[in-house]
Amino acid sequence: MHINIKYFGQIAEITNTEEESLELNGRLVSELLEILNQKYNKLKSIDFQVAQNQELVSIETELTGAEIALLPPFAGG
């Protein structure tokens, strides 16, 4: 499955890119996160939510391909 991933805020600093594409055989969003955790070690220290195809989802959601976004909270004002 071809997945396009968007990174925001601190996460984009860890991944050093705002967007990338991955080929993946996993079934769930959590499986994708495990792969990303291995690829980017510091990702584990960040709290974030996941959106799939522009909708916030739980990590137990089935991957449907297309677009994933990793979204950390911002505090600044």
């Binding site: 220290s45 911002f74 600044g76």
Partner: protein, 361 residues
């Protein structure tokens, strides 16, 4: 030519709409980077009553982006300095300065005086406090937050829409998200995001256009990209705030961010002697845990079932993924129940582990 002529000649607003603006009462939390543009536009638009709460004073490093202040404001309280500039901008409206810190004690009576709350604060402690107080007082919350070159905008708690906790259920671990004073921010960014917040306020007041409820708008000033994500209302989150309502004033503002949730892993737990396992999932959620005595108290009912908790045992709370159990821990901590731990893994892993463990024996 009247002050509000350019509004009134718009058919979408007219005198009727301008009267709605004049009758509206809006409270702005924080008169910093986001608060300044929000206040400036709401004052210019003629919002009838504007409250400003900020305990901080104007510092020279604020002037790069906090456009209401000048050299003469340095060292002055921001709420008061903002009011003095805004009174000059529009003397036909009422502007109230609250030069104090927003706390669990003053939030509910203060919010009750206004129709709409705007969150332009700069820390998670205040953001969760504002969100919870908006749920309790049933006020729409116009939310904006910034990080370096990026911003997030949404309207929470509007017409039964989601709240901030439906997006981010719990505050992040302390010191994991730096703020503007630690890492810097592009000066114009709060100007852009703050203007969007003022726009959302006016749409709510006028009941025109589409309010950004149930959506989070993400903006990147460097790429000019925007992405709008859909957020769903999470009844469990809303309920967990409402059940704690009577205790709200007594809550310690520090609790949200400064107490680390104690976490254990399944591998550290068995054999489960002198442990009370508490399942905070709703009663119909699967899998059921086999081979282990479990007390079921859904998160939404936890507050009213504290008597089911065994004070002599170590308490291990679990849910599907470890998010609700963390929230449950804060409820128990607030009730001064100690020796509580959130299970790192979810019910599925616990079940698998218990099965293996039972089979081995």
């Amino acid at each position: 030519m009247g002050r509000y002529n350019r509004h009134i000649i718009l058919s979408e607003i007219g005198q009727v709409g301008q009267d709605k603006i004049s009758n509206a009462k809006v409270l702005v939390i924080g008169a910093g980077g986001l608060g300044c543009p929000v206040l400036q536009y709401l004052t210019a638009a003629g919002i009838g009553t504007i409250g400003i709460i900020d305990f901080d004073v104007v510092n020279i490093s604020n002037l790069q982006r906090q456009v209401l202040y000048g050299s003469s404001s340095l060292g002055h309280n921001k709420a008061i300095a903002a009011k003095s500039r805004l009174d000059d901008l529009n003397n036909e409206i009422s502007i109230i300065a609250y030069p104090e810190k927003l706390t669990h004690k003053n939030a509910i009576p203060l919010f009750s005086e206004f129709d709409i709350i705007v969150d332009g604060s700069d820390n998670f402690e205040t953001r969760y406090l504002v969100n919870d107080a908006c749920i309790i007082t049933n006020k729409p919350l116009v939310f904006g937050a910034i990080y370096k070159f990026e911003g997030q905008v949404s309207v929470f708690n509007y017409n039964n829409g989601p709240s901030y906790r439906c997006l981010f259920p719990n505050p992040p671990k302390k010191d994991t998200v730096p703020n503007c004073s630690e890492i810097g921010v592009l000066g114009v960014l709060p100007g852009i995001i703050g203007s969007m917040l003022a726009n959302e306020v006016l749409k709510i007041v006028l009941a025109i256009g589409n309010v950004l409820s149930g959506k989070l708008l993400c903006y990147n000033a460097l790429t000019s990209h925007t992405l709008t994500l859909k957020i769903n209302r999470n009844e469990v989150q809303i309920h967990s705030v409402l059940i704690d309502k009577d205790n709200f004033e007594n809550r310690n503002s520090q609790v949200n961010c400064e107490v680390e949730t104690p976490i254990v892993s399944v591998t550290e737990l068995l054999p489960a002697e002198n442990i009370q396992f508490i399942d905070v999932r709703e009663l119909n959620e699967l899998p059921k845990i086999e081979g282990l005595r479990v007390t079921s108290i859904p998160l939404s009912q936890l507050e009213s079932h504290l008597n089911k908790i065994d004070s002599n045992k170590k308490k291990v709370l679990f849910c599907q993924s470890g998010i609700r159990s963390k929230r449950a821990i804060t409820i128990l901590q607030d009730a001064h129940i100690t020796n509580c731990f959130s299970l790192k893994e979810g019910a599925l892993e616990l079940n698998n582990y218990t099965k293996t463990f039972t089979n081995e024996r």
